[in-house]
Amino acid sequence: MLNREQELALPLWVQVVYAASRALGVFSACLIVLAVIVVCQMVFVRAVLGESSIWQTEFTTFAILAATFLGAPFILLTRGHVGVDILPMLVAGNKRRALYFAGSAVALAFCGLFFYASLSWWYETWSTGHTTSSMWRARLWIPHLSVPVGLGLLCVQYMTEIWLVWTRREEPYGMTPGVHL
């Protein structure tokens, strides 16, 4: 991963993408904290006050779902998505670069198609005003929105990562050059 100084030397558009991924990462972390608080409130309401919970179960589930999709670009930026590094460690130099571009193209194609499909999927719930079937009747377009937003930025973040390796500003897989099995 690049340090702060190296990051500042990058083109402005890369810094903007990084900032957007970090902002969504902070927002996702806040959603997880909110989910923890709401779960505690739900337990208190049910166990201590003896009342039934109405909205809490759906809210926490949607908060965690939104954090998953919105946090995906930040997790990619911080190399949090685990992979199996066997082949990359067996090869070096241009072969490792070629492997990285091939693998990234497959991953980007999946993320891109997922993003494309999520646009019409979200639009449908937004235009029809679909709600959940519970008493709370949450509007589904709100949690659904996290999918296209998160995946859209994930695709941009992925393309940025590929560009950085392509222009040799970063090493493929973040591995030290010349080190292999």
Binding site: V36, T60, T61, G83, V84, W121
Partner: protein, 436 residues
């Protein structure tokens, strides 16, 4: 094309794609989507958001980030060092005490965090230099921590067991309680081996004449007992049916965040951000793998692969123990290359019909599978704990760590064999506490 042939193609493609190093979540999704497009046409793309979103739209999954936050909070504090130091002082006069303290600290810390690498890092940072300073060989010191760290996914609460519970649709509470006795069995086996090796090598502690006063022995306990109380409380709430896994984990996460702030003064915004960042990274990564593995399972089922594999194995008419041995060998081989989350989520939907048809208890199998996954954490080439230990002690060669970890791997194989002969070790406690 027959479903079995499609299954073989899916297997080969998945191996190739995942080995290329791309993130597992996207690799699984790409393979699933690719086969869906090939066999069902472009229209399959539109199933993607609904399949993945509705698969993740499950309150049980909320327990995952909550337990991860709970573990990240404890791992960010000095609780690991205190736990290690407290046990080392209490067991000072016992032969091989230091290595036993380390394994014991690993078992307790893994119960607090549910994470193997975090356990290895927290206990190893203190334990390995201390053991070497006091005369233990490098292989025993590192092997004990590498193996002790694996207890994290067996002793409850365990993220791995949550994943198995979701994939196999079995009770997470039952799985947690089923892991307790096998966890103690494995801890005892690890300790017995460490004791035997220390005795055989005639390891003499440099400070064996040091005497700890009663005050020194108990002074660290007040800092640790609240954390242990939270874990016991969470597990009790689950077994007693007082709370669901997500509710128990949510309250546990909140309590752990408050306790690390009060007891260890981990309260500054930067400290809190580190806990939340680690929690987000791990839980987000796991949830995306779960989402795409749901898509993978959907593809396998819609192409009739899952059903055909189960029917074929069922029609083989071989002894059920042969089937179990073959499954364990396959899981062991997969564990050498893939992380536990990916293996469990990919294989459980296929294995579950085979296991139940062969008359094995799914809860018992969950425990056996978890021990098998523990083995994968200390086997090359991608044994995560080996690399964590290597990072802590870069002067110790990986081969030395492996040499030290090998006997502990054999202890795990022995534990699986004992569980096969005496399955009650895993099934008795859940039945006793939660009924049939």
């Amino acid at each position: 094309m027959s479903p079995l042939l499609i299954g073989a193609l899916v297997f080969a493609t998945t191996l190739l794609v995942l080995a290329s190093g791309l993130p597992i979540a996207f690799g699984l999704g790409a393979v699933a989507l690719g086969f869906m497009i090939i066999f069902d046409g472009w229209g399959s793309v539109h199933f993607l958001p609904e399949t993945i979103f509705s698969g993740l739209d499950d309150f049980t999954l909320v327990s995952l980030p909550m337990f991860v936050i709970m573990g990240a909070a404890v791992a960010s504090s000095r609780a690991g060092s205190d736990l290690y130091e407290a046990l080392a002082r209490l067991l000072h006069k016992v032969p091989g005490s230091l290595v036993i303290s380390n394994i014991g600290a690993c078992a307790l810390f893994s119960a607090l965090t549910g994470s193997s690498p975090a356990t290895c890092a927290a206990i190893g940072k203190m334990g390995i230099p201390e053991m070497r300073k006091r005369g233990y060989d490098a292989d025993l010191a590192t092997g004990a921590i590498a193996a002790g760290g694996t207890l994290g996914i067996l002793i409850p609460p365990s993220v791995t067991m949550i994943l198995y519970g979701i994939a196999s649709e079995t009770s997470i509470g039952r799985l947690f309680i089923a892991g307790i006795l096998p966890g103690l069995l494995l801890t005892t086996l690890f300790m017995a081996w460490a004791l035997f090796l220390s005795w055989k090598r005639g390891t003499v502690l440099i400070d064996k004449d040091r005497v700890y006063s009663l005050k020194e022995k108990v002074e660290l306990l007040p800092r640790l007992l609240p954390f242990i109380a939270v874990v016991v409380g969470v597990v009790y709430a689950l077994y007693g049916g007082i709370a669901t896994p997500s509710e128990a984990a949510g309250v546990g996460a909140m309590l752990c965040l408050v306790m690390v702030a009060v007891i260890y003064r981990v309260w500054r915004p930067r400290d809190m951000w580190h806990i939340l960042r680690d929690g987000l990274r791990e839980s987000g990564m796991l949830l995306l793998i779960i989402g795409t593995s749901i898509l993978f399972g959907y593809m396998m089922s819609s192409l009739q692969v899952t059903q055909s594999v189960a029917e074929t194995i069922g029609a083989l008419q071989v002894n059920r123990w042969v089937v179990l041995a073959a499954i364990n060998l396959m899981l062991l081989a997969a564990g050498c290359f893939l992380p536990p989350a990916a293996i469990i989520l990919m294989t459980t939907p296929i294995l579950m019909p085979v296991i139940t048809a062969a008359g094995f208890d799914p809860i018992w199998f969950g425990v056996v599978l978890t021990i098998n996954m523990e083995l994968g954490l200390i086997t090359p080439p991608v044994g995560l704990n080996l690399f964590v230990i290597n990072g802590i002690s870069p002067d110790i060669r990986l081969t030395t760590i492996l040499k030290g970890a090998f006997p502990f791997m054999m202890c795990m194989v022995l534990a699986i064999l004992i569980l096969c002969v005496f399955p009650e070790i895993a099934t008795w406690l859940p039945t006793k506490v939660m009924g049939k």
